[in-house]
């Protein structure tokens, strides 16, 4: 039986009772019956209110109980920040190791190149029999030194190449770390989508503030780092050739 209808068997019975009790002059019983009637009228409102309260309670609980979300906020996001900082420090270290090796090797190559050039000239003179005995002694001394230096430098340069080789291991390690962070970002995205669904569509997008010409211009020229293919859009030039074309069209 639907208790929300005013005309119901139960209400009819109570009303009859109430009438009888009033006619009989039974004050306390009449009051009781009257209250029963009033309450039955309000029950629909109570039911609705109860339902709403339950929904609200469930919604709050589903939030509060979703420990995953608080875990992400409290632990995993700061973790991810640390991981990415570690990526920066690893790539920095690799770049510096490589640069050290190059900066140490370059002067050795230059020295060998220069000496080889000079020795070649003298050697040509020797081949053409233009060298005197003293000059030949000097040449042979220099050749001996050069061979020694060649061997030493080659050994050092080979060692430096090895350092450069080993420094590339950052690629594997940073790749793994970044993949992990991407997984986290995906999870956060999923949770955000759920949050938007829960909060419903009531939250209308905020009216975008009209930007002044100057603001737009400043935004357009603000430095934003490297362009990522497939992500960044707008009038981005695709490389040095395009930049050169644009500059030459501007009279460069």
């Amino acid at each position: 039986m639907d208790s929300s209808n005013v005309i119901s068997e139960q209400n009819l019975a109570t009303t009859r009772e109430l009438l009888a009790e009033m006619e009989a002059g039974d004050e306390s019983k009449a009051r009781q019956s009257l209250e029963t009637l009033v309450r039955s009228g309000e029950s629909k409102l109570y039911q609705e209110l109860g339902k709403l309260t339950r929904d609200l309670h469930d919604a709050l609980n589903s939030f509060r109980l979703d420990a995953r979300i608080s875990d992400i906020a409290a632990k995993e996001i700061p973790d991810a920040r640390e991981r990415l900082n570690y990526v920066i420090s690893m790539t920095d270290k690799a770049a510096n190791t490589t640069l050290n090796a190059v900066e140490e090797s370059m002067p050795m190559c230059e020295s060998l190149e220069n000496q080889a050039g000079e020795l070649q000239e003298q050697w040509q003179q020797f081949v053409q029999r233009k060298l005197g005995a003293n000059e030949f002694r000097e040449l042979s001394q220099r050749l001996g030194d050069f061979l020694q230096e060649s061997a030493d430098s080659s050994r050092k340069i080979r060692g430096n190449f090895n350092d450069v080789l080993m420094a590339q291991d950052f690629q594997d390690l940073t790749g793994q770390i970044i993949k992990k962070v991407i997984t986290l970002v995906e999870e956060v995205e999923g949770n955000l989508v759920n949050l938007v669904k829960l909060s419903g569509e009531q939250a209308a997008p905020e009216q975008e503030k009209e930007k002044s010409e100057e603001e737009k211009r400043q935004e357009a020229i603000a430095g934003q780092g490297p362009v990522v293919p497939g992500v960044d859009s707008g009038e981005v030039l695709s490389g040095q050739d395009d930049v050169d074309d644009l500059l030459s069209s501007l009279g460069f």
Binding site: E103, A220, I221, G223, G225, E235, L237, S238, Q240, L247
Partner: protein
Amino acid sequence: MKILIVDDFSTMRRIIKNLLRDLGFTNTQEADDGVTALPMLQAGDFDFLVTDWNMPGMQGIDLLKAVRADAKLKEMPVLMVTAEQKREQIVEAAQAGVNGYIVKPFTAQTLKEKIDKIFERIEA
């Protein structure tokens, strides 16, 4: 020829320094953004400025504008070496009076070409 290299990443400064040295420019100094670079330029006898765009503190484009606004520095050739490659940005740099614009990643060959071109134009 004394050159100032401005970039917030020390590795990029080292790369540019090594490339310049290979091109025969051995007298280089470094700064990590416009705020540090500008007083160095004003105090020192630099002949050439190589700068990045996106840096904390003072950005490269603002450094370029400051150089052009400074009576003593306004003739100094400026080469931008940057990852910024939006059309508006390049137009902005050109209007601000940049002498050359190289986008990262770049090659040693590109650096040589642009520097040669800048000095050809200055000597012409």
